[in-house]
């Protein structure tokens, strides 16, 4: 069994190394993804601000605020990749990094060039935001450029991340390596996820400011109340699409890295996956709860519909997060010859199977999300919401939402990075000794049923 082997054979020092990588990677990913998503939100707000000039000052203010927050977080984050490359990769994982650089040389060159472009664009915009107000179209152009730079930065780092899981045989053309089976699924997954994540962070930050403004500066309360709902709309709206993308992504892993997929769905990581599904359900539930509370605070119509959607989401989450067996891994079940339903004395739980029960649950989750969103937007377009009326409880719920999204991202990173164990590059390079294996085949423990 491959995963058992990984746990036993990896020496302590290597585990220590991967812990370093994990901690730094998590911090870097959370910030970098926020930057990518926030740049999109900035472009959206700035465009609306220009369209509705004279009618709506809020979008202009939000765009400026988002850009400032990007600069602050970027200045903190910029040190990490440099530290990562110099210290972690070259120092602790030399063989691996050199091998990876050989494979993805151009990818790293592009990455570095884009980093430079990002620095220039971000600080230019930050330093001359007010001066550029006279040339608003040019400023929007720079923002769009920044958004594109960040997108391609994400695209090229996705090449590395996806290549490590589905390396495409290793001997194919550079294009085939770049467009390896999980590169585009990961890119789409992240592109959408980053916007949702940036929406959640924006909403949570605004919620903190709202809670303070209610006490100390009531004139700011309407603005922050509005920003909270604006951020939540992005968080829920884009998360609705994620189950589809995620499923397609997992499907590619199944077809091109079967062993990793097996670990993820039936092996040791299957329980982490259940945690991830729970968190996904919580995102839907918390977002819908916020929309419901927000409608109720202004006495708007649609509260009953939202209550129904919330109920549906809770049921769907419970079904989706239900384990399909009462043992740690599927391997434990087959080892004890108890692979039959629990009502026949076995350890299997046919109610919690992926196909088709959990897929139905995910579809229900998405449907409820769309419904909740539509009901809320309807009330919004009928001017039934008055800003500054949100309850303190709803604001606290939004902070919880951002925490859940953050945990969700960390969990997904853990699953993606650990599913390919004991490989660093799936089927080609192991952690132990970091040497290149000659195209080993996936070795799942048992046949999938």
């Amino acid at each position: 069994m491959s995963h058992a082997l990984a746990a036993d054979a990896v020496p302590q020092s290597v585990l220590g190394n991967s812990l370093w990588v994990a901690i730094i990677a998590s911090v870097h990913i959370q910030i970098a993804t926020f930057l990518t998503g926030a740049s999109t939100l900035t472009v959206v707000s700035e465009s609306i601000a220009m369209l509705r000039e004279g009618h709506d000052q809020r979008h202009g203010r939000l765009a400026h605020g988002l850009l400032r927050s990007m600069v602050y977080t970027f200045s903190f984050d910029a040190a990490i990749p440099i530290f990562w490359v110099l210290f972690v990769f070259l120092g602790l994982w030399g063989t691996f990094f050199i091998a990876l650089t050989r494979i993805t040389f151009w990818v790293f060159i592009f990455e570095a060039a884009l980093f430079l472009a990002e620095v220039i664009l971000l600080y230019t915009l930050y330093g001359s935001w007010d001066r550029l107000t006279a040339y608003r179209r040019a400023r929007l152009g720079l923002l769009v450029l920044l958004n594109l730079v960040l997108f391609w930065q994400m695209f090229f780092i996705d090449v590395v991340a996806s290549y490590m899981l589905t390396p495409n045989g290793g001997d194919r053309s550079q294009l085939a390596q770049i467009l390896n089976p999980t590169d585009l699924p990961l890119t789409v997954h992240r592109l959408i996820g980053n916007i949702a994540w940036a929406g959640a962070v924006t909403a949570a930050f605004a919620a903190v400011r709202y809670l303070r403004a209610v006490r100390r500066a009531p004139e700011d309360a309407p603005f922050y109340d509005w920003v909270v709902q604006w951020g939540v709309l992005f968080a829920i709206g884009f998360t609705i699409l994620q189950p589809w993308v995620g499923y397609s992504y997992a499907k590619e892993v199944q077809l091109h890295a079967y062993g990793a997929w097996y670990t993820m769905m039936f092996g040791e990581l299957s329980n982490v996956f259940l945690l991830q599904i729970t968190l996904l359900g919580l995102i839907f539930i918390l977002a819908t709860l916020y929309l419901l509370r927000r409608l109720r605070a202004s006495g708007a119509s649609g509260v009953r519909s939202l209550r129904l959607a919330l109920g549906l989401e809770i049921v769907a989450t419970l079904l989706a997060a239900m384990p399909s067996r009462f043992a740690w891994t599927e391997g434990d079940v087959t080892a004890r010859h108890l692979d039959r339903p629990f009502w026949q004395g076995g350890l299997e739980n046919p109610i919690g199977t992926m196909i088709p029960n959990k897929i139905i649950a995910l579809l229900a989750l998405m449907a409820a999300g769309v419904w909740a969103l539509t009901v809320y937007l309807k009330a919004l377009s009928r001017d039934q919401l008055h800003w500054g009326e949100a309850t303190r409880r709803s604001a606290r719920g939004v902070i919880a939402l951002a925490v859940v999204v953050s945990m969700m991202m960390a969990t997904m990173g853990v699953i993606r990075e650990h599913s390919r164990r004991p490989y660093l590059i799936y089927g080609e390079m192991t952690i132990e000794g970091q040497h290149v294996v000659d195209h080993a085949q996936p070795s799942p423990g048992a046949t999938q049923r």
Partner: protein
């Protein structure tokens, strides 16, 4: 009053005439369209191979010219017959028609623990006995109707009928 009833009669007459035309056109049209559903099938047996020439535990594809069993008579069509001989002595005679969207399934020895049938269209997976074990296929690979007879020289002849044993 008379004008009114004359008018009524003309309108009714037109409607009846229209309905009559519709009926006269639709009876043969509908009958024409659905007639293939009631056509008799032309079943026949086709030789595939002798079982001795099939390696054990390895799904082996044979291309067999199968006569069309419905519609206007035409030339036989080449179809794939996967013959699987298990060590236990059981023989599976599978078509390579995916039960999902009927794409062409093939055996890939690199998949799963010791090989699986893969449908390239939507990634459907079947085990060596044709059981659907992954991806979207809703049911196993449809087996061909087949019979095995012993030849005078002692070898066993496998034949299929130009029909699947179950509906896909």
């Amino acid at each position: 009053m008379t004008r009114y009833s004359r008018r009524r009669a003309l309108i009714t007459g037109t409607a009846v005439g229209g309905a009559a035309i519709g009926l006269m056109l639709s009876i043969p049209a509908i009958g024409f369209v659905i007639s293939p559903l009631f056509q008799a099938r032309r079943n026949s047996w086709v030789r595939v191979t002798t079982l001795e020439s099939v390696p054990l535990e390895t799904p082996t594809p044979f291309t067999v010219s199968v006569p069309i069993d419905q519609g206007p008579p035409g030339e036989p069509v080449d179809r794939v017959v996967y013959v699987v001989r298990r060590r236990s002595g059981r023989v599976y005679v599978l078509s390579n028609t995916c039960s999902h969207m009927q794409c062409n399934v093939h055996w890939d020895p690199k998949l799963g623990a010791s090989g699986q049938f893969l449908c390239p269209c939507h990634g459907g997976l079947y085990d060596i006995t044709g059981l659907n074990v992954g991806g979207p296929p809703p049911s196993p690979l449809p087996p061909w109707r087949h019979r095995i007879s012993t030849l005078p020289d002692g070898s066993r002849l496998l034949e299929i009928e130009n029909q699947y044993a179950e509906n896909v």
